[in-house]
Amino acid sequence: MAAYVFQRLLWTVPVLLAVAAITFALMHAVPGGPWDRSKQLPPQAVENVDHAYGLDRPLPVQFGDYLLGLARGDLGVSFRSHNRPVSDILADGIRVSGTLGLLALALSVVVGVTLGVAAALWRNSAIDYATVVFSTAAASVPSFIFGMLLLVLFTANLHWLPSGGWGTPEQAIMPVLALSALPAAYIARVTRASMLDVLDQDYVRTARAKGLRENVVVLRHMLRNALIPVLTIVGPLAAMLVTGSFIVEELFAIPGVGRTFVTSVSSRDYGVIMGTTLFYTFVVVVANLAVDVLYAIVNPRIRYDSYG
């Protein structure tokens, strides 16, 4: 197991290199650069600023230089944010988006699994229908519509919650709700379906025949197996949630890394584009690895000893 994890982690390096190369090539291939804005910088100033940031050198040299910096942990500076180091921007943004994402993940897992299990156990009951309605509605309404509805209700009309910002628990309520609606719906559907799958399995019948109490049957024999497909989707969902949502962060004025990423792309802030993309890659790789490890813990039939 440890060897497997180590091997997978080693693979992260070539993956990050490939992503770095592709991102670098794409962002320089897109028309427009960081100084192409609604006000025109005099040509002399463009020359000086290009030189100051090394943008006047050939692209392969710039890329090589970037990789050397990366190896030293230097991600460069932002062109648009008074030369702030990209590592500072990322650190601040990740802390905010990560907190928001983990809260949303926790809420969506709790709500999703609970609703899914309840819907499967009391199939065709009111709670089942309610779950189906919730998961369809929450999956179809985009987060900015849902977020806007929350803003209108709780801020504009009731004046209960602040419109946005980050730092107090009140400020987290609406963004967490807006962010977790879709994953909760998704988890509820998958949980319900896989619970129904295991409902009639032989081992469940055996467990009942042994005279085990119903909650032991549900928790230990059914849920543990039913959670494997759920885990498969929680990995990518976790990666998606902790890397920040541009729409939710923009709507609720949250200084997170999702907003940073989209803003950096439209402003051609090269260092920030590279930094955020590599961070996303890393999170996705780690989340997938975590899911694979969790499989083995949840399901004893899965082993990685023979890997490689």
Binding site: V30, G32, P42, Q44, V49, M148, S163, R268
Partner: protein, 561 residues
Amino acid sequence: MRLSITWLRPLALAMALAAVTAGLACGGGSDGSVTNELSPNQELRVRIAGDPSTLDPQLAAFAEEISIVKQLYRGLFTYDQNLNVLPAVAAEVPTIENGGIAADGLTYTINLRPDATWSDGVPVTANDFVYAFQRLFDPAAGAQGYYFDFYTSISGAAEFAYDEGGSADGVGVTAIDDDTLQITLAEPKPTLPELLALWPAVPLRQDVIEAHPDDWTAPSNFVGDGPFVLAGYAEGDQITLEANASYWGGDEPTLQTLVYKIIPDDSAALVAYQNDEIDMTSIPAPDASRFEGDAEQVRFPQLETYAIQYNTQEAPFDDPTVRQAISRAIDRDAYVSVVRGGVGTPTTSWLPANMPGGDPSAGQGLGYDPEAARTLLTDAGFPDGDGFPTFTMTIVDDETNRTTAEFLQEQLRVNLGIDMQIETLDESAFYDRYQVGDFQVTWSSWFADYADPDNWLPQQFGTEGGFNVLGYSNPQVDELFAQAATEQDREERLALYDRAHKLILKDQAVTPVFHPDTNYLVKANVAGLATTALDAAPGDWFTTNVRILQMGDSVPPASKP
């Protein structure tokens, strides 16, 4: 997902705004009346849409940057509400009569107020200006921003800035003593006092910048000479300014705190305004008609012109008659009422009427007249639009620009029978092409940096003009610009620009369509807002005038327990 955003977004906005409007009608918490007493909490909260790229006054160029920097520094001069130049750090505005300007217009001798100080108590001296100008032009200092070339008529500046054998010491800004600054010019620049009232020309502290070269604009290192100091900056969240305790200007602010809240989303900003989290926010153009006439609306004209722009080098738009036909085919009144919710002034003039040298009747001979438009197009060889090639209007992709392009497309189809395609690009991609004139037709605006045609004509329409992306060239116009550039008599100078302006309009180098208004919601208890036509945010030249009044007693609604 991308597709659904495009069409669902307006729906979400509509829903939100319906609620916001309903909320405004019923008020929030207080009975809405304002007393004449000052509130104990002298704090003004202004919404900005994003982080400023910089707080270095020499690099500041975009609305939020300019608006903040103006509070932090005072230069030699400032403006009154009618944009006349007033002394700030200077003791008086130099003129030929008072001996401040030499008869040849090449030497300015400016006496400084001896009591002007920095926020750390150190006196502001002539050397602080000398250092600032040397830094502004220095190719290696990283401070050459959008505006250094406003000041290259200063002797030695161009040579230094363009690396043509100049040096910092060769720049014609010198300290005669602590309280006397001398500026020598290579050529007369009649608008120099106006330019010296702008934010890039403020003094800077050499010792502070050299001690903290990378973060001298951080709150912990900040030293300014303006009415406010930078007290805090939470990235992506808010910027806090506080009244400068050692401010010397005689216009000490009543406000204790100025907060710039960063709220990227326009609709969320309206909700924040409604929830009393901010005191002012702009009204987005697509929602203008909803708030028209609202008691908290603050609306006033700004020095800005939107125009159709042509690549005048390429057929069919190399023919002035074609451009004149297009000008006569656009119903500008309909445009302002349909697309802009009635906010703004339809125009046929490039220079706004409230600009010195502006003339409201300019270009009116080429106003909306579909009949005349068709005749002109026939004269150009395209009767009923026959044989006119399909062409493309390239625009920055945003909601208002798309609506605008669709409106113009329809006008040209109906009135001239010609077919226009629309191409949308993101901002960087658009300006990458715009700057080199890589377009057939586009839609763009020019916003005044200072109130003089000097800022509005030669750079845009001169054959060698730095912003002439149109490929426009008229020797008569160039000749008038050359005369105006050094003409010392103001009336004569404005008359020369007026003649050039009218030639440009006759040629329809651009087709002016409308002048926008600044359109904001401002809380009723914000008093003393003094606006100008050069505001980046309402009243930001006169923040020292603003005071917060006490609201009337809260009347709890009867329905609540």
